[in-house]
Symmetry: C2
Subunit: 403 residues, 2 copies
């Protein structure tokens, strides 16, 4: 398919789905057509992509889901947008984010059931990929903002290690936690996009070693999700992998709490100017900023120390293990559009700044997607992607009923 026809196909599909899904803040059809004409080539030549509306695209506003940023046009592309342009891809427009990438939802609905949330904060990007409009979209994660919508919408997601991809041109919440990432229909497509961004090639190790993690004790993980995890673990063993048990001795719960402290503290400082105009903020965001202002720096420092100590331990563990495999969310997308679900199963890993790949394919009894997440070593992203691709193939065989 030529670049021009890929853009037209995306626009056609968007026309058919958008009224129902509401994934887009702004579509730049003329800009995308012109860019597709101009593009010189590259591994993603002509591929249209969606851009979460906290990420700058030159010439388009970055509105962050907030009236406070209405009409603010970006002068330059964010680093990640520019990298994808360099690989030949074409920004189609801006996708819905929750307000400043926190909890207050935008209008987006889950393509698998429009009465369910798509998750947040990368709501529009996940939904746009799930609805088949674009084969690639940009998101970001501070708590569970990419992994959770990927899981709820049944798409593949990649969260880069904190610090690996610059956040230049991204409106952030927390310098310690923010990480950009990608969403794509499957892990193979995701891996091609990661390779286009930073040259990392997916590589499947000859002998896969994975630790299963049932999720934190803080939330009851859905039975269908635990089944999906167990069946996937068995399939990995049957395919020759070594599977261990990470267990959860309360450690990841403690990490989740430390994460919440770091996030609130830093968000209150990142959005200090916005906090001066509370009449423009949602209740959840006002509450976060107020809570964050009241966190003492010594509490924040204690949370960072938890991160430091556990990260060192986890990196050693991940030197002899390819990934931790766990549920990407406590269960399928909750019913209703007033909230975006619980990020608790991402908080521990985002505190540690580790790369995460969400593997789609499982579904619950109602046909709603259930994602699994693989968490890896920040210096071995290629291996993480390879293990995720392998796992995705096994999930496909499980869910298609093959032996």
């Amino acid at each position: 398919m030529t670049g021009a026809s890929a853009v037209e196909e995306a626009l056609n599909r968007l026309e058919k789905t958008e009224e129902e899904i509401r994934a887009w803040v702004r579509v730049d059809a003329e800009g995308a057509r012109a860019a597709a004409e101009r593009t010189a080539g590259g591994p993603l030549k002509g591929m249209p992509f969606g851009v979460k509306d906290i990420i700058d695209v030159a010439g388009l506003p970055t509105e962050c889901g907030s009236a406070l940023r209405r009409g603010r046009v970006a002068a330059a592309d964010a680093w990640l947008v520019d990298r994808l342009r360099g690989a030949g891809a074409v920004p189609l427009g801006k996708t819905v984010t929750t307000e400043f990438a926190y909890f207050q939802p935008g209008p987006t609905r889950n393509p698998h059931n429009v009465h369910h949330t798509p998750g947040g904060s990368s709501s529009g990007s996940a939904a746009a990929v799930a609805a088949g409009v674009v084969p690639l979209a940009l998101g970001s994660q501070t708590a569970g903002s990419l992994t959770r919508p990927a899981s709820y919408c049944g798409v593949a997601g990649y969260v880069a290690p904190v610090g690996a991809w610059p956040t230049t041109g991204i409106t952030g919440l927390s310098p310690t936690l923010d990480a950009p990432g990608l969403l794509a229909p499957d892990v193979a497509a995701l891996a091609r996009a990661v390779a286009a961004v930073d040259g990392t090639e997916a590589e499947t190790p000859p002998f896969i070693r994975v630790l299963l993690w049932p999720g934190t004790g803080l939330v009851g993980t859905d039975r269908a999700m635990l089944d999906a995890l167990e069946r996937t673990g068995r399939a990995l063993v049957a395919a020759g992998a070594a599977i261990g048990d990470l267990g959860d001795s309360g450690l990841t719960g403690r990490l989740a709490q430390a994460h919440a402290t770091v996030m609130a503290y830093e968000a209150a400082r990142a959005l200090a100017d916005e906090a001066e105009r509370p009449e423009y903020l949602s209740d959840p965001l006002r509450e976060l900023l107020c809570r964050g202002r009241n966190i003492a720096t010594r509490e924040h420092a204690a949370a960072l120390e938890v991160r430091h100590v556990v990260r060192a331990r986890m990196l050693r563990l991940l030197e002899n293990t390819d990934a931790v495999l766990g549920p990407a969310a406590p269960g399928p997308a909750p019913h209703g559009l007033a909230a975006t679900g619980d990020p608790v199963l991402s908080r521990p890993w985002q505190l540690l700044g580790l790369p995460v790949v969400t593997v789609p394919g499982h579904r619950d009894a109602h046909g709603m997607p259930l994602g699994l997440q693989l968490v890896g070593h920040p210096d071995r992203v290629g291996r993480l992607l390879g293990v995720a691709r392998h796992t995705e193939g096994l999930v496909r065989r499980i869910t298609e009923g093959a032996p």
Copy 2:
């Protein structure tokens, strides 16, 4: 000494030295006295400290050495300032920074010879500690902005691993490279301050392993500096350490070049608004921003890939080695006040985001200080500080002529 008398002593010493040294942008005598009265206690009770003027102190302007920021009062303390307050220390005022922590010098002179630069960009903080005004000052490093002035002024310096100490409340140049840090008269005092900030305790390993690094081939390192390095290496061996050779096969030169690419690219984006008012910028800063704007994102991404690959290799090396020991600067502080010296020997390590301790004590034939730097593993800062403290003791014995 009580807190109040420590503040008075600092003010007295400042009165005696400031006309010559010009280290301070603004002294908050009343605020410091009041804070010393109020302070509840803590490991640094009543200790006055200087704050580089890109770092926020609530109620004081943060002017970044630029007319563009004149009179901009900070609403809240930076994270690091708040941590030190929590330990009982007291901000005495703001110290001179080069313009936006880049190359254009402020008025500060080197206390060891006022015709020589104190180095930059943490010029005032290094000079204020060297002049005996304060026993602690805050700095930051993007290229060599802390290590170099520490070396030139003969004080101890600590650069935190990138990402370990939040940059909240610090006006930065480059999210990938910026790291806060501390300056103190000696490594023991430095280690006490680090412990007060994040709980890291210096620990000397029973068997020290160090790799010597002669500096990059990009610059000729001063003969006196190489002598200081060699003598220190011999003293370490005589005290039972194992010394290897990191050599320099051109690798660190390549890192320094990649560093310059990342810094220019990110600074151009961080200071995009300031670049719109070039009449207020110095020539070096204008040149940096112009160069940075013209760096393609793919060049920046290639530089990040160099960082990624070499960092993984260096971390493995630093798991079996306590530190790399090298010159902290190419030589003593250059003559003249129009420039702040060359950061090239810091660029490789800052690109990798590793913690650095500058060890003072050596001097050249004219009595000008020569600092050595120890570069360590980001997860083993306590060990790095312990090795630095041990090394400082050996340097003291060398320079005092003891056997």
